[in-house]
Amino acid sequence: MATIRLGHFVTCAMAAVSTAAAAAEWTVSGLIREEIAVKMTGDQNENNWGGNAFNGVAVPNTFAKRVLGVDSTLTRPGSQKEKPDLNMFATRAELNLDGKLNENWAAHFKLRAFTDQLGRVESAYRDKNFFEQSYGASRSGGVLGVARKDWMLDLPIAYLDYSNGPVWLRMGNQQIAWGEALFFRVADMANGLDLRRHSTLDVAAEEFSDKRVSAPALRAMWRATDSVQLEGFAQLFRPTVLPGENSPYNIIPAQFVVDQKSGYDDVKDKVNFGLRMQGQFDDVGVQLFALRRNNPDGVIRWAKAQGAGAVGDSAFAGNSGVGVYSAQEWFRTASLTRLDGLGALETALNEFNTAPLGATGLANVCGASGSAGTATQAGNIRVDSASAACILDGFFSGGDLRGWLVREYPRENVFGFGLNTVFNGEPDSFLDQLIARFELSHTPNKKFTSPTLSRDYIEKDETTFAFIFEKYHKFSQTLPATYMVFQWMHKSESDLFGRSLEGTRNKPGGAPKGDDRGSNNVAFVLQQPTPSLEWRFDLAALTDLKGGWFVQPGVKWKLNKSAQLDVYANYFRSSNDGGDFAEGLDYAREVFVRGTWYF
């Protein structure tokens, strides 16, 4: 009976919406954009086969020297080396369809098409997969989309709005953005990010509007009083979508295979929930929020290798030609990704049935103690730098190995609050109309990827907070006000990218020293428009105070009602000592140009 009633209700609702849609006023708008990023450096993305620093480099085989007493080398094939000059050669089209169905109902859709034809102009990217995922509808990684190697098409907006007095509902595929901070995601926790389209390196002032992963949701807001609003949502979980293997902005070393589908299948039907209260009390804006979600960024651990080439029950597959070739390469890769090169080896030997592969013997001849894992018992091999190098080179003497990883999405609760106020001072003094914001989120028992890639994830309470100061200040009477933002974000357990700080202070060949003081990131943004606003000059800078810098100067030119040209540069600088966020990102020093035609 209930089913019949529900069916009847749905039918009536559909009929009502259909009738309204037929009578609606629809508007169509959109854009076509060319986006090109040109490298300013010869540095290549070391996460890709072509950019691997060890391509064609012979390194000593420490196993041969230590165990056999022979001088020999291991060499990753130089033929893999590629030196592309471009990072992006893309075309984007967006089509918006907005309809007012009646005074209470509205419908909104956005169709987004994006193709990166870099593979046609750079041999390094020929036939590489930029967009297609192993999970999600039509291999899109999301819900409403389709993706193939060099293009993707999706509906990031497909929702109905209902408003009636103090009640507002939004139903359908949508982004949900909360928070005071810009770019720093303290309260902006509802959605993961889609990193396939120019990673997060677009115009900093655009934040994540093109990046947040949309998902079906019911979002409701109720204005309890003139100054207090309550909001809640229930949204289907969808993960952060990573750039494709060997794509220009790939963040996972391509010598490793990441099984993203298994973890996704486990939680693809999970629903995230969020509650928020916002209020204005005198001069102070307040928000309290809580979320229960699966962490869209996920955590990663070793997984048993699958398919042809799988080496026994281990986490490795052999002779792919594109795996790791030497201990030095292993250590360098581990250091760049803030993993523990020694601990990851131990875990790979101890948490998998590697004893039948002779791992115990190899470890022992290389000077390491303990036994490798068996089918029934975890191993206890302990290595130091020398023995780890020896063991690894011992394996690699038989050829390259690809490590297998699996990505999982733990459930977690997030609680937080935010405050803002506007200072008043002497007219045009620096304090006058300065907006100060603070927000904090706390995630109890948050799971982090262990630098050892163990299945025992690191579990710690993480507190993240940010101070934000925003100011429009007029430095001259002839120019419009300069918009300035200063932000400081502190994270107690992870770095800017959410990696556990146990993996930081990480030099190749050793275990990371870690950092228990938390991470700090400071950002500064300037925007200076010209008097007519036709031109806007931007400068964004970010540092982790540990030698990592990102600087993005740029200019936006609105030529006329239909055309816009953006020219920006991305500049990274790292101290290259295993402790800052910019290490390994030199390849993304680039100038990117976007020409947009709006209709």
């Binding site: 509205a106 408003s163 007029k474 007519s532 009602k561």
Partner: protein
């Protein structure tokens, strides 16, 4: 019979004498409001010379004639210098309309009724805010219909920009470059709602619990695509020494955030010559400006009737002038018997690009007719002139309760120094199905709350 005593010089003399005595009350032969009360018209407050353009020009011009470069010298003293130059050098043409003396065609009837009902009740408190005789926020209508100071003129107008309790103006904006080409185009909605001084929509005269606020005002853009979804909400405190609170939804941020509000001297969009400060010639809290002074009084040509283009299905207007015929709105103007010209300086904005503004008000209604702002060197910077109308042209009518809707129809914002022009027109509806509304209780929920900003965003 023409009584020579009341010739043009007589009127000029009276204007000078009244100005010197700080008597700003409209009317030469008597108080315009008193005469309106007795006769239903302000006609009797002025001599014949100020009653019609043909009398003023001694028959050389009459309603229906066009003012162009060929005859602009005939009305030179009825024009501000900028329009005179636009006509003489830039091809602007004005069409003359009969003068309107029925106040109910020059302001909403409900506003006039409230003005009469509450006459004599207003005063300034110690801070300079307008209050009733017993110290409460203003209760509706014009608090100073017969002003005694320039400050009273500005205070009255700032309290009620549009003379309605609430409005949604659907508008289209055209940004023209120096060559007169339409370079930018925007479509937007501008919503206003008074929380005090309410005269038409219950609860009146105050919204309970919001007596410390003056108005809610939002602007949102629906076209073009790059600004679509951008929306701002200003919440004005009643205390005019304070800046409004400003909240904004920017499509790039996907959320409503609080913004500073003192940067009121820059355009909202590329190519626009409109600043927040320019709204209704009184876009800032009136106590953040100062040195209010009357600098001139006299007759003036302004668009007070016939500006509503009901013939177009969306009320869109026609243009002329410039190399592409798109530089100026086609505008009908009439002889306004008495305009009060007031100057003020932005005392709360040390780095404003504006050193002062000069505003022409219709002395009868205190509606702003034109404005020139001056740069920091004292040079004319930007010029604004608007047109108003009762939305009733005899064949079609837009109702505001029982009376026709009264509002602005078009205006120009012209950068005198660069030659760039922004034209804005009020239309029936804009993309997204947003239609002009007046005194509709739904305006608040639809356009003036934080969740409305989020909903209007994209």
């Amino acid at each position: 019979m023409h009584i020579r005593k009341f010739c043009r010089d007589y009127s000029r003399r009276v204007f000078l004498e009244n100005t010197a005595k700080n008597v700003l009350r409209a009317g030469v032969l008597g108080g315009a409001w008193s005469i309106f009360l007795r006769t239903g018209s302000t006609r009797g407050a002025y001599p014949d010379e100020l009653a019609s353009i043909d009398m003023y020009t001694r028959g050389r011009l009459k309603p229906g004639d066009k003012i162009s470069k060929d005859n602009v010298h005939l009305v030179q003293d009825l024009l501000d210098p900028v329009r005179a130059k636009q006509i003489a050098e830039m091809g602007r043409v004005l069409v003359l309309a009969p003068s309107t003396s029925d106040l109910s065609r020059l302001n909403p009837a409900s506003y006039i009724e409230a003005t009469l009902r509450n006459r004599g009740e207003a005063r300034f408190d110690q801070k300079g805010n307008v209050v009733t005789s017993d110290g409460r926020p203003w209760v509706g209508g014009n608090p100073f219909p017969e002003p005694r100071s320039a400050m009273e003129v500005f205070a009255a107008h700032t309290l009620s920009w549009g003379r309605h309790d609430s409005c949604l103006y659907a508008s289209k904006e055209y940004g023209l470059d120096e060559e007169g080409r339409v370079q930018y185009q925007y479509a937007s909605g501008w919503a206003e709602m008074a929380s005090i001084g309410r005269i038409s929509v219950p609860p009146m005269p105050y919204l309970p619990g919001r007596e410390e606020k003056l108005r809610y005002q939002s602007v949102f853009f629906v076209e073009p695509g790059d600004v679509k979804g951008t929306a701002y909400l200003n919440i004005w405190p009643y205390d005019q020494t304070q800046f409004p609170e400003l909240f904004g939804y920017l499509p790039t941020f996907k959320r409503v955030r609080r913004f500073p509000t003192n940067q009121r001297f820059e355009p909202l969009n590329p190519g626009s010559e409109l600043y927040l400060s320019d709204a209704w010639a009184a876009g800032d809290p009136f106590l953040t400006w100062g040195d209010y002074q009357i600098v001139q009084r006299g007759p003036f040509l302004a668009g007070l009737s016939g500006g509503w283009n009901s013939r177009h299905s969306n009320w869109e207007h026609t243009t002329h002038g410039g190399p592409h015929g798109t530089l100026f709105w086609d505008t009908a103007v009439e002889l306004v018997p008495e305009a009060i010209v007031i100057e003020a300086r932005p005392i709360g904005y040390p780095r404003a690009p504006v050193s002062k503004k000069r505003v022409w008000f219709d002395a009868r209604t205190l509606v702003p007719l034109a404005m020139v702002s001056y740069d920091r060197r004292g040079q004319p910077f930007r010029f604004f002139d608007g047109a108003y109308s009762a939305y009733d042209d005899g064949s079609q009518r837009v109702p505001d309760g029982k009376e026709p809707y009264w509002s602005w129809t078009t205006f120009h914002a012209f950068n005198i120094q660069t030659g760039r022009m922004t034209r804005v027109e009020q239309v029936k509806s804009i993309a997204g199905g947003h239609r002009m509304l007046v005194n509709d209780p739904a305006i608040y929920e639809r356009y003036l709350t934080l969740e409305a900003l989020q909903r209007l965003g994209s």
